[in-house]
């Protein structure tokens, strides 16, 4: 019997494909939820929900913002107890203005809804992590 006509093998292949597709979807979901996409409709709620929060202010045209993005993702994975979010400054100018964001990228650290620290520019992970650890009392 040829491989194409083997129903058992076909079923196995179908099952494997389903499994792989589910894994892919789960990974995508995890990625989506790792960092909250913030705007005026959910920003305040996000700060209320997270005792310690880190918000990355960015814009599409900002190349250093794209350099920094994977560093924020990495930290979000390693510090699940912290709320990580990103906010497009061009599309949410009133929120960026509220926190005096003048240059991009700017990362603001919040504790109990209040900004307590910030970092400007594409910096290495360590620079952000040292602030995060101090906020968490580590």
């Amino acid at each position: 019997m040829s491989v194409e006509n083997d129903p058992e093998l076909e079923a196995l292949i179908r099952k494997k494909i389903k499994q792989m597709m589910k894994q892919g979807k789960d990974m995508e979901k995890e990625q989506r939820e790792l960092i909250a996409h913030l705007d005026s409709s959910n920003f305040d709620e996000f700060l209320k929900k997270n005792k310690v929060a880190v918000v990355d202010f960015w814009a599409e045209w900002c190349a250093p913002c794209l350099i920094l993005a994977p560093v924020i993702e990495e930290l979000a994975r390693d510090y699940p107890q912290v709320g990580f979010g990103k906010l497009n400054s061009d599309e949410n100018q009133s929120i960026a203005g509220r926190y005096g964001v003048m240059s991009l990228p700017t990362v603001i650290f919040f504790k109990d809804g209040e900004p307590v620290d910030e970092v400007i520019g594409a910096v290495p992970r360590e620079e952000l992590e040292i602030r995060l650890k101090s906020l968490l009392g580590e």
């Binding site: 599409e60 045209w61 190349a63 794209l66 350099i67 994977p70 594409a122 290495p124 992970r125």
Partner: protein, 210 residues
Amino acid sequence: MKALLLGVDGLSYSSFMKCNPRFLLTLFSSTFRGVVVNRRPQHPASSWMSVLEMKEVPLSGFTTISVKPSLVQETGSIPINLPISNPTYGEISLKYGELTLQEEINKVTEGILSSLDDGPVIAGVSGLDVLLHRGGDKCQAYSAVDTMLRKLVNAVDEFILFSPFGEPKSGNEEDHEDYGIYLGTVQRPAEHDTVKLPEIGYLFLKLIKG
């Protein structure tokens, strides 16, 4: 004037911090820069044609090229390894995805360096994108691209380096990050705006024709 328009498919700012490509980082801090926006799905052929025709070209795969692309025609440029057809289009024409990244880099570098005295050059490197789609070693690949760029940029007077889209997001060849890179000696009129693919072709045209 020795001028080069070089596209490296899949090159992305998102790996600059991880892979630390020294020469690219030097360019990043010393040349004009921008973010190329090209939303998914993206195919190398239609993305490149948008640059070469200086207008948005709808998503399509590799085709047979019977007429010189507008930018090549209007600038009198020498095309090298452009991924608009398979095999690629130009003086150096390679079967897409067949060579290793290093083999492609060697051929393209040699081709560019030997053509620069004859006119402007428009060249492409696809191997990084192909390698990343297949799950190859990213930072090793960035290092190879970085070395190539050092050689090429030092050999020209003016250049535009771009990627028509970012890194692959999966094995699907039309699935990449929406953001590519733009680094070059050519200043863009609106720096606080994203770079569109046709704009890259237009900027090179302006560089050559004045």
